[in-house]
Symmetry: C2
Subunit: 309 residues, 2 copies
């Protein structure tokens, strides 16, 4: 059993074409070449913590992967990041444990961000006037970092709940981007046509009436039944509602909210893998509104764990 | 993150009062002092493999535990044991990974066997004339080993499908027990009043008409929807049907088979933790027939992982 620590994992990541492996993962998933059972979840309400176990395998492959990712919202008071976890790689032939990737949540953060770049690659308008980022945390940083591979736009507006975090975000990101900040999420909707939402909000931050023609929104914050960053009417208004997994997004994320509100049906949901495979429509022109609802699928974990191994 | 290998885990096991911690676990579970979500399962039909993820925590404790245990039925052809896996211990406060117990399935095997001893402690008749073991594998050995703590009987009859495995079993166990072997499972029912079934059978091996008055049967082999070692009529005939988890045994194991056959109702199911706590009846006399259906509950994994830590 191989054990890789965070430093070793970071070193290996340098040689991996992340966009390709995540894209391949979604394509495999939508072709039903993977086995991905429903997410297992452990909630720790007293600690404001939640743990997701995502697991599965690519059929006729050598491995299966079990990923544990936790988010403990109060970790700042212990001087720790909220996210943590590890990935486990097993032999598909014998069940032997081959590797423990003690990534402390990094690989989950990265595969989530890279999925955002994949969504933007297929769904963002050609001319991006300004990128909008909703949130100021780890994912707000990583999404922007990986978007560089799929757009040349470096003008960014970021929304956060407080000046302090916005200032820190600007400081961290301004080497590569022109960063504007706002405390009013409506500014993002009004001024950006490639938006990524990255918060753990349980009430909508963006509203249908504010979204401009030609905008693409990738929503990555909501991965549970109750989290919601987008007014469900945005999904009703969108020309395309793309999800990472129809099966999973019926239960979790923005699409599940719109489904429960009766504003869309499952027939309105297109899978990202099918967009990649050109089996489903991608953006047709710079007028359409598109939404990608990414709840995080085990196939992303499988792909990144295999690559790091 | 601490990593313990199999040799280190075996060393630590020597100092642990296993019966007490597993008993405590069932009691905590039945008092609803634990959080134990449904078992997560990954099936690999082409490799004849199945993986169970069992996880949860004792409320207001320091840890949560995620256990992965696999059974790959064809592993003998690679010179490997069928069972494998590991246990992970996390901080309940922050989600940090505290320990990887690379037990290769040993802790699962042991906590399963110890649960059999706990069931026998509360449910076996006072005078055991002969112990009956159905099966010749790892669990058939371990169940007998741990029964020594709760009965002085050393006369054993073991059933297996072939002479070779029966001979190996007898050779391995005869230092501590008087072992008789049989190829006819009915002999076990006719001659033993403490029976443990340990196979992965999908069709019943023991039948209601053959079970003698005063017998206790612990069934540990069936932990899925489709496995079954006991004719469901045995549960209908039994004076007590004790399960490790009512919630879980509605879905998995012998009780679930009897429920689906309409031969018992959930009201007939008593939880082992409540028997331990004397909140539910244990065996009243040496005439009753009792069944313990043990599907394996995460609280056992939590208890043993914490003790080894």
């Amino acid at each position: 059993m191989k054990v890789l620590n965070l430093a070793q994992i970071k070193e290996r990541l340098k040689d991996i074409d992340l966009l390709s492996i995540i894209e391949e993962g979604f394509a495999l998933y939508s072709q039903e070449k993977t086995v991905v059972p429903p997410v297992a979840e452990l909630l720790l309400p007293e600690q404001n913590g939640e743990v997701h176990i995502k697991y599965g395998y690519v059929k006729n492959d050598d491995y299966y992967v079990i990923k544990i990712a936790s988010g403990f919202a109060d970790n700042a008071k212990y001087g720790l990041p909220n996210n943590n976890g590890l990935m486990l790689v097993f032999s598909q032939k014998t069940g032997e444990v081959l590797a423990v990737l003690h990534d402390e949540g990094l690989l989950t953060d990265i595969r989530t961000a890279v999925a955002g770049a994949v969504a933007a690659k297929y769904l963002a308008p050609k001319n991006i006037k300004q990128i909008g980022i909703v949130g100021t945390g780890v994912q707000a940083r990583l999404q922007l970092k990986y978007l560089q591979a799929v757009t040349s736009c470096r003008d960014v507006m970021v929304w956060g709940r407080g000046i302090e975090k916005l200032t820190a975000y600007k400081k961290d990101m301004q080497a590569d981007f022109n960063i504007k900040t706002t405390l009013n999420a409506q500014d993002i909707a009004n001024n950006c046509n490639l938006i990524v939402t990255t918060t753990a909000s349980k009430t909508p931050l963006l509203f249908a009436d504010d979204i401009q023609t030609g905008t693409h929104i990738t929503a990555v914050g909501s991965d549970t039944v109750d989290k919601q960053e987008l007014d469900a009417k945005i999904l009703a208004k969108a020309d395309l509602v793309v999800v990472d997994s129809i099966e999973q997004c019926k239960m979790r994320g923005e699409a599940s909210q719109a489904l429960r509100a009766g504003l869309i049906t499952t027939k309105d949901m297109i899978e990202l893998g099918n967009v990649i495979l050109a089996k489903a429509p991608k953006r047709r022109d710079d007028k359409q509104i598109t939404v990608a609802d990414l709840t995080g699928v085990a196939v992303q974990d499988i792909q990144i764990a295999k690559a790091v191994l």
